[in-house]
Symmetry: C2
Subunit: 112 residues, 2 copies
DNA sequence: AACATACGCAACCTAAAAGTTGCTTATTGT
DNA sequence: ACAATAAGCAACTTTTAGGTTGCGTATGTT
């Protein structure tokens, strides 16, 4: 329940970035972006690593809310959730706007 | 010069995410966003870690192009570069739009 | 000249991430 | 019933990230 201090927030944000900070997980997101359900063994195909390794990566993505697991029969199906991605977009927008504001203030300072 | 295969691209992108995937580096970016030059020792203040640790984090940020180092006298001054951030924004936009497109196709499929 | 400040370099430690191997369980197909 | 497929669990190894300590060097200050 992530009790909301500023340090907590920045840590959550960092965890989200970190979840995407791995080539394997990034390619998993790319595969899942078609909005379909994908099983673990399907996602493990064409990867030069074991199924268990892929499972771990999927768990990392799940822990930050980027994917959801649905058990169906003997399969574990994963689907993407874009809400965290939108959160990241907002974060980057804030940084960018903050930067623009600083630039403006710098300009005003120089011209005064 | 990062010879541009698809694997290379996804790795670069992952490195960029990974660079932001640490609370310390995220707070460094927050400090640098004021568009001013900041020395290492200044950036090390109020942090419960050594100057050398901060230096390492700055190097990570520098390696992905998020900051630039300028040597001035005995000081090493860092400034932010937002180009990589914009690249990340573009990346997230692409993912989001891809997701929307998939949703549309799914809707069309269901309705046909 | 003497001292303090700012930093670089390199070796080292430790904890966590990434990945493997081996085994077990549950589900599906024949 | 039997074989094959899909996945979970746990122990283990290896690599890397994050951080410290110690020392040297350059620049600034008095």
């Amino acid at each position: 329940m992530t009790h909301s201090t500023a340090a907590r927030k920045i840590k959550d944000q960092a965890n989200l970035f970190a979840a995407l900070g791995d080539p394997t997980r990034l390619s998993l997101v790319a595969k899942l972006i078609d909005n379909q359900l994908h099983s673990i063994s399907e996602l493990s195909n064409n990867k030069e690593m074991t199924r268990q390794a892929v499972t771990k990566h999927l768990t990392v993505l799940e822990n930050v809310g980027l994917v959801t697991k649905i058990k169906e029969g003997r399969e574990s199906l994963y689907m993407i959730d874009t809400a965290p991605l939108k959160s990241l977009q907002d974060y980057l927008d804030i940084i960018a706007s903050q930067w623009d504001k600083s630039l403006l203030q710098l300009k005003l300072f120089i011209e005064e």
